[in-house]
C-alpha cells in the first residue's frame, strides 16, 4: 500500500519538472566536438587520400559494415579501389577511427542521415572523402613508412638512414 502511494507520488512529482526532450529539428541539441557521428575519409597535408586500404577498420567493425578493396597507384602507394560503408548498419562506435593507422577515418558530429530509401544509406568513397585533414593537420603516413614511393626514396622517411651499400666493408 505504502509502496504504491510512493510510486504515484514519484510519478506525479514529474508533472512539474522541465522536459529533457528538445524540439528537434527546430531546436538543436548541444553536441560535443568529438561526438561520434557520420564517418569521413580525410586527406593528408599533400592532398592525397590518407586511406591505405589496410583493412583494419573493416576487421574491427563490430557490425561488419565496412568493405573495401586495396589497389596500388603507379607511384607504389596503396589506396582503396572502393571503400563502402553501409550506414544503415553502422552503430557509430568509433572503433574504425581508433583502428585506423593513418588517421584517414574520422568521426564527425553529424548524425543527421535520415533517408526514405535505405539504399541511400550506403556511402561509397566519393561520398566519404573530404578535402581536408580533419583533426590531424600534419600526419602523412608515407613520410613515416619505410615504403618507397615515387616522391620518397628509401631512407628519406622520418628517422631513416640512407640505404645501406651492401658492397661496403665499412662498419
Amino acid at each position: 500500500m505504502l509502496s504504491e502511494l510512493r510510486t504515484m507520488w514519484e510519478v506525479l512529482k514529474h508533472t512539474f519538472t522541465g522536459a529533457d526532450t528538445v524540439q528537434y529539428p527546430e531546436e538543436m541539441p548541444y553536441l560535443a566536438p568529438r561526438y561520434r557521428g557520420r564517418i569521413v575519409l580525410t586527406r593528408d597535408p599533400d592532398g592525397e587520400e590518407r586511406c591505405v586500404a589496410c583493412n583494419l577498420c573493416a576487421a574491427v567493425c563490430p557490425v561488419d559494415c565496412i568493405a573495401l578493396q586495396k589497389d596500388t597507384r603507379e607511384d607504389g602507394t596503396w589506396y582503396p579501389e572502393f571503400f563502402r560503408i553501409n550506414f544503415s548498419r553502422c552503430i557509430m562506435c568509433g572503433m574504425c577511427e581508433e583502428a585506423c593507422p593513418t588517421y584517414a577515418i574520422q568521426l564527425t558530429p553529424d548524425f543527421e542521415m535520415c533517408e526514405y530509401d535505405r539504399q541511400n544509406m550506403v556511402y561509397e568513397k566519393e561520398h566519404l572523402l573530404i578535402n581536408g585533414v580533419g583533426k590531424y593537420p600534419d600526419y602523412n603516413f608515407y613520410r613515416v613508412s619505410g615504403m618507397q614511393t615515387a616522391t620518397k626514396d628509401k631512407g628519406e622517411a622520418r628517422n631513416e638512414a640512407r640505404p645501406i651499400d651492401t658492397k661496403s666493408l665499412l662498419p
Partner: protein, 940 residues
C-alpha cells in the same frame, strides 16, 4: 622417453628432439623465428630462449636456446621465468629497431609471424629513437615482391632457397647489421619453388606479387580445402577467395604429400580462374560460326534434342574429376567413352594404371621418397613434370649426411652441423635422361641417352641385377651395384618421353630389386592431375579398353560430348577437323576459350576446380577431394552438375536417379573395384562438427553487411552449400575435423601459417585429423607384366627409324617446362611471362655446327611443316637428339621421336633481353607523338 621439467611441469618427451620441439609438442607457446620443422635449427634468431637449471637447487640457471638444446633426462627449464621472458622481449625489441612502420601497407600484415611473436613476448613500447637502417629492394620476377627493410635476418629464406630447394641465386650478402638477402643482381628468381619464400619468411620481405595486385587480408579470405590441378602429384592447397575472385593459393599441409611446400606452378598458376577468357554462358553456334548465348535450360533442352535417339560418344578428361568422368562414361556407356588421352599417351596411361594395380615394388608417397638412399631417375625431368617430387628427391640425397650425422651422434635437426659434416657427400642419384635436368647438380652421375637407348639401358640393368651381365655394359653393372647396395632404392620414371619402353624397364628394375625382405620404391610421373583416375576408369570398365581418340576420328558419332578437354592438344589439325566436321554435333564443356570450344556446336561453361568439387587420383593412386572455394558465377556449373542435369532432362536411366554429389560418389564407388574406397577420401555432406558445418570463412571475416550493399542494401542470405560438409559462413569451428576438411590454419595468438603446428599431432608429424586422402589403388603385388611384351609394335617402329637416321637429321625429344607446358596455368599472366616462347633445345655441338647461340632462331623441318623456333643451348644433350618445348601452343604439332632437320633462321629477330627492375619501377615516359614507338620489338 626422457622426462624433462618445464616450469616444474613434468613432460614426457621424444628422445632426440630439441627443447623447442618438446615445448611445441606439449602445446606451450615458445616464440621462435629461424627454426622450421622441415629445415631444422641453426640458432640464429635467439628468440626461443629458456632458462636451464643445473638441478633442483639451482635457482640462477642460464639462458639456453630451445632449438639448439637436445632434451636430456631430468633436465629442468623455465619458460615463464622472468629472465627468459625478459630475454625474449629484448630480442624482439632489438629485431624491431630497424623494422619499418609498414604493417598497414604490408602484404604479410595479419598473418605475420613477427607480429604474432611481438605480441606473444609483450613488447609494445619503442624505446630506440635513432635512425632505422634501410635497404634497396630488388626486382625478383613476376611472382615475388621484395621489401628488404622488413628483414629480421633469421636466415630462413636463404636456408630454404639454397639448402632445401637447391636454388643458387638468392643468398645472404654483406655483414653485421648490413645483412642483405637477395640476388647478386636484380632478375627473375630461377628456382621453381621460389613461391615458398612467401610462407617461409616470418615477416613481409618476400610476399606474393600477384596476390599483392588484388590484395585482401588473410582474415577476409574465404578458403576451402583443395587439390592442385597443376600436375599429378596432387599437392594439397588452400585457395582463398574474396569478392568473387580467386586471390591466392597457399599451401595446405599434408604429411604424406606436399608437406610445407608447393611449386610455383601450383602456387601462382591459378590466375586463369579469374581470366577474362572464362566462359560465362552456354552458347549455341549460329550458321555464321558465332555463338548465341542461351540460358542453361535452353541449352540443356537443345542438347537433349540432339542426343535423343542418336549415336552418342563422349570424350572425358584427365584433368577433370573422377566423378565427372564417371558420369560421362555412364551417360554414353563405356563402349562409347574415350578417357581423353591422345593415342600416344593412352597405352602409357593404361600401363601406369596396371603398374599401380600389380607391381611388386612399393609406390611411395612423397614423404617416403625423402627416405630413399639410392635413386635412379629414368628419362624424366622431374623438376618440370612433377616438381614437388623433385623437391623431395633433393632431400633424399641428404640421407647420406644423416647417416654420417648418426655415426657422430648428431641429431638431424642440427642443420648447420649436419651440412658441414657432409659437405658434398650425398646419397647416390643417377639421372638417365636425354637432356639437362634441374636435378643434375645433386646427381652423382648424369647419363645422356636418347629415349630408346634409355629403354635399352634398363634392360641391361635388369640383366645386371639378375647377374646375367656379360660384362659388356659397364654402366649398367655400376648402376645395378649401387641400387643393390642400397636399403631403400627408388626408381623414378614417367610418361613425359612418351616412351613405354622406359616405363616398362623402370618397373622391371624396381621389381628385380624387390627381395623377400626389402622392397624397392617406384615412382611414375604422369602428366595431369587426374591422369591415373581417367586411366583407371578407362581400363576398369567391363568393355575392356574403351575408345581411343582415333577410333572416334575414324568412326564419327552423331553427337560427341567433350568434357574439359582441349582436343587440339591431343589430335593433329587434320584429325581435329575430321572429328569436329559437319556430320557430328559437338557439345563441349570447359572453362576457358580454346580451339575445341570454338569448333563445337554447343558450349557449356564449366566451373574451375575452385568452384566445384570432385576427387582427383594422384600419381601414387591416392584419391583426394577438392571443395568449392566459392560459388560459380554467371551460369557456370561444375561439369558433374551439367551431366546430372543433362541426364535428368534426357531421362537417362542411371543418371536421373542421382541428385547429389554424395550419390555420385557412391555410384562411382560401386561401379568399379578400384573405386570402392572413394567415399573415404573426405567426409560427406552430412558431416557436422558440434552440429555445424566447417566454416570457409575465418571468425574475423569482415564486411558482410557492406560487400553487396553497393548493389542492394538488402543483404542476401549466405549461399547454402548443399553438396559439401563446408559452409559459406564464419559460423562453426575449424579445429577438430578430419584434415581433408581444413580450409585454413589459425589458432589463438598464431595468425600466421605457423599456426599449423597447433594442427599437427606432433612437430613435423601428421595432422591431428589424420592424413587427408585415400589410397584407391592397392597393388596385388603379383608383379607387372609389360603391355609392350604382348604387342611390340610401337617401340620397334621407333627403333627401326632410328637406324635409318641421316647425318643431318635429329630425333625430337619433348622438353617439359614447369611454366609453359601445362595447359591451364599458362593462362595466368605471370606464368605466361615466365614461360616465354616455344623453343628448340640443342646441345653445344649442334649449336656450334648450326652457328647459333641462345636466343637465335632455327627452322625446324619436319615433313612438310617448317617451324621457326628460338634456340636454347643446353649443357648436355644425348647424341642425335634435339628437344622441343612440349605443351607449348606453337609446338603442339610436333611428335616425339620424329626425325627433323635443322637450319639456321637467317630472318630471326632476337627477343629483347628481359627488362630489369629499374626499367619496371619507373613508369613509362609519356610519349606525346603516338607515331613514335616506345622502343623494343615488344612495344611495336
Amino acid at each position: 622417453m626422457p622426462t624433462i621439467f618445464i616450469d616444474g611441469q613434468e613432460l614426457q618427451v621424444k628422445d632426440g628432439e630439441n627443447v623447442l620441439e618438446a615445448c611445441l609438442n606439449a602445446g606451450l607457446d615458445l616464440p621462435y623465428f629461424c627454426w622450421h620443422p622441415a629445415m631444422g635449427s641453426i640458432g640464429s634468431c635467439r628468440q626461443c630462449a629458456l632458462v636451464q637449471y643445473q638441478n633442483e637447487d639451482d635457482s640462477r640457471g642460464r639462458i639456453i636456446m630451445g632449438c639448439m638444446t637436445p632434451v636430456t633426462e631430468g633436465a629442468r627449464f623455465s619458460l615463464q621465468g622472468d629472465k627468459a621472458k625478459e630475454f625474449r622481449e629484448a630480442v624482439v625489441e632489438s629485431l624491431m629497431l630497424n623494422h619499418p612502420h609498414d604493417c598497414p601497407v604490408c602484404a604479410e600484415g595479419g598473418e605475420c609471424h613477427l607480429q604474432d611473436m611481438t605480441v606473444m613476448v609483450g613488447h609494445s613500447q619503442r624505446r630506440y629513437t635513432g635512425q632505422k637502417n634501410t635497404y634497396r629492394n630488388q626486382y625478383l620476377g613476376p611472382l615475388i615482391h621484395h621489401e628488404m627493410n622488413r628483414c629480421i635476418t633469421c636466415y630462413r629464406c636463404e636456408r630454404y632457397y639454397k639448402d632445401y630447394a637447391g636454388g643458387k641465386d638468392l643468398g645472404a650478402q654483406a655483414s653485421h647489421d648490413h645483412l642483405y638477402f637477395g640476388r647478386h643482381e636484380e632478375g627473375v628468381l630461377e628456382s621453381e619453388f621460389s613461391g615458398n619464400l612467401v610462407e617461409v619468411c616470418p615477416t613481409g620481405v618476400f610476399t606474393d606479387k600477384p596476390f599483392l595486385k588484388q590484395y585482401s587480408r588473410k582474415w577476409d579470405l574465404q578458403s576451402a580445402p583443395s587439390i592442385c590441378t597443376g600436375c599429378a602429384v596432387g599437392c594439397n592447397i588452400a585457395p582463398g577467395e574474396r569478392y568473387g575472385k580467386l586471390k591466392r593459393v597457399h599451401n595446405r599441409y599434408n604429411h604424406e604429400v606436399n608437406g610445407y611446400f608447393l611449386c610455383d606452378r601450383g602456387r601462382f598458376g591459378s590466375g586463369y580462374v579469374n581470366s577474362d577468357a572464362r566462359l560465362d554462358y552456354a552458347g549455341i553456334k549460329k550458321p555464321d560460326d558465332s555463338f548465341m548465348a542461351v540460358h542453361q535450360q535452353q541449352a540443356l533442352e537443345t542438347a537433349a534434342g540432339w542426343i535423343k535417339g542418336k549415336k552418342v560418344a563422349a570424350i572425358g578428361s584427365p584433368r577433370a574429376s573422377l566423378e565427372a568422368n564417371y558420369l560421362l562414361r555412364e551417360m554414353v556407356g563405356a563402349k562409347n567413352f574415350a578417357a581423353g588421352f591422345s593415342d600416344t599417351e593412352a597405352p602409357l596411361m593404361s600401363a601406369v594404371a596396371l603398374i599401380l594395380k600389380t607391381t611388386k615394388a612399393q609406390i611411395p608417397s612423397i614423404k617416403k621418397i625423402e627416405a630413399a638412399d639410392a635413386i635412379l631417375v629414368l628419362g624424366e625431368d622431374v623438376t618440370n613434370t612433377a616438381p614437388r617430387v623433385a623437391l623431395a628427391l633433393r632431400q633424399s640425397v641428404r640421407n647420406k649426411s644423416f647417416e654420417l650425422a648418426a655415426q657422430m651422434g648428431l641429431p638431424q635437426w642440427q642443420d648447420a652441423a649436419v651440412r658441414n659434416l657432409a659437405q658434398d657427400q650425398r646419397s647416390p642419384m643417377i639421372i638417365v635422361s636425354a637432356m639437362d635436368t634441374k636435378l643434375d647438380d645433386v646427381a652423382s652421375e648424369c647419363i645422356s641417352l636418347a629415349p630408346d637407348q634409355i629403354a635399352d639401358l634398363t634392360v641391361a640393368i635388369v640383366a645386371a641385377l639378375a647377374n646375367q651381365a656379360s660384362g659388356n655394359n659397364e654402366q649398367a653393372n655400376q648402376i645395378a651395384q649401387i641400387l643393390q647396395s642400397a636399403k631403400n632404392p627408388l626408381i623414378v620414371t614417367g610418361s613425359s618421353m612418351l616412351n613405354l619402353g622406359i616405363i616398362d624397364g623402370a618397373v622391371a628394375i624396381a621389381e628385380a630389386l624387390c627381395t623377400d625382405d626389402t622392397s624397392a620404391m617406384l615412382s611414375v610421373c604422369v602428366p595431369e592431375s587426374n591422369s591415373i583416375g581417367a586411366a583407371l576408369l578407362r581400363s576398369g570398365s567391363d568393355d575392356a579398353i574403351g575408345l581411343t581418340l582415333s577410333d572416334l576420328v575414324n568412326n564419327a558419332p552423331d553427337v560427341l560430348l567433350v568434357m574439359e578437354n582441349d582436343l587440339e592438344r591431343r589430335l593433329s589439325p587434320d584429325e581435329m577437323h575430321k572429328l569436329m566436321g559437319k556430320g557430328t554435333k559437338v557439345i563441349s564443356m570447359d572453362m576457358l576459350e580454346n580451339p575445341t570450344l570454338g569448333a563445337s556446336d554447343m558450349v557449356l561453361p564449366a566451373a574451375s576446380y575452385a568452384e566445384s568439387q570432385g576427387s582427383l587420383v594422384n600419381m601414387e593412386g591416392r584419391a583426394q577431394r577438392y571443395f568449392p572455394v566459392f560459388e560459380p558465377t554467371a551460369e557456370r556449373l561444375p561439369s558433374w552438375q551439367w551431366l546430372l542435369k543433362l541426364g535428368a532432362i534426357t531421362g537417362h536411366k542411371a543418371l536421373s536417379k542421382l541428385n547429389h554429389f554424395d550419390e555420385v560418389v557412391a555410384a562411382c564407388a560401386n561401379s568399379q573395384a578400384e573405386f570402392t574406397d572413394l567415399a573415404r577420401a573426405a567426409p560427406d555432406n552430412s558431416f557436422r562438427d558440434r552440429g555445424l558445418k566447417i566454416p570457409r570463412q575465418t571468425h574475423r571475416y569482415s564486411g558482410r553487411t557492406a560487400m553487396n550493399a553497393g548493389v542492394s542494401v538488402h543483404e542476401p542470405q549466405q549461399p547454402h552449400d548443399t553438396e559439401s560438409p563446408l559452409a559459406y559462413s564464419m559460423e562453426g569451428l575449424n579445429r577438430d575435423q578430419p584434415s581433408s576438411l581444413t580450409p585454413f590454419v589459425w589458432s589463438p595468438g598464431w595468425n600466421s601459417n605457423q599456426a599449423l603446428q597447433k594442427f599437427q599431432a606432433e612437430v613435423d608429424g601428421p595432422l591431428k585429423g589424420g592424413t587427408a586422402g585415400q589410397h584407391l589403388v592397392v597393388s596385388s603385388t603379383m608383379g607387372y607384366t609389360a603391355i609392350s611384351s604382348l604387342s611390340k609394335g610401337a617401340s620397334q617402329q621407333v627403333k627401326s627409324t632410328a637406324v635409318k637416321m641421316q647425318p643431318h637429321q635429329w630425333q625430337l625429344v619433348p622438353v617439359h617446362r614447369v611454366h609453359g607446358s601445362d595447359e591451364l596455368s599458362v593462362n595466368t599472366d605471370e606464368i605466361a611471362e615466365l614461360a616465354g616462347c616455344a623453343f628448340v633445345a640443342l646441345g653445344a655441338v649442334v649449336a656450334e655446327k648450326l652457328a647459333v647461340t641462345d636466343g637465335d632462331g632455327v627452322v625446324l623441318g619436319c615433313g612438310d611443316t617448317q617451324l621457326s623456333l628460338e634456340v636454347k643451348v643446353l649443357r648436355r644433350v644425348a647424341k642425335n637428339c634435339v628437344g622441343y618445348s612440349a605443351g607449348y601452343k606453337e609446338t603442339l604439332a610436333l611428335q616425339p621421336a620424329t626425325l627433323v632437320t635443322l637450319t639456321k633462321d637467317a630472318k630471326w629477330q632476337r627477343r629483347e633481353p628481359q627488362l630489369i627492375a629499374s626499367d619496371r619501377t619507373i613508369p613509362d615516359p609519356i610519349i606525346l607523338d603516338p607515331n613514335i614507338a616506345k622502343g623494343g620489338s615488344a612495344h611495336v
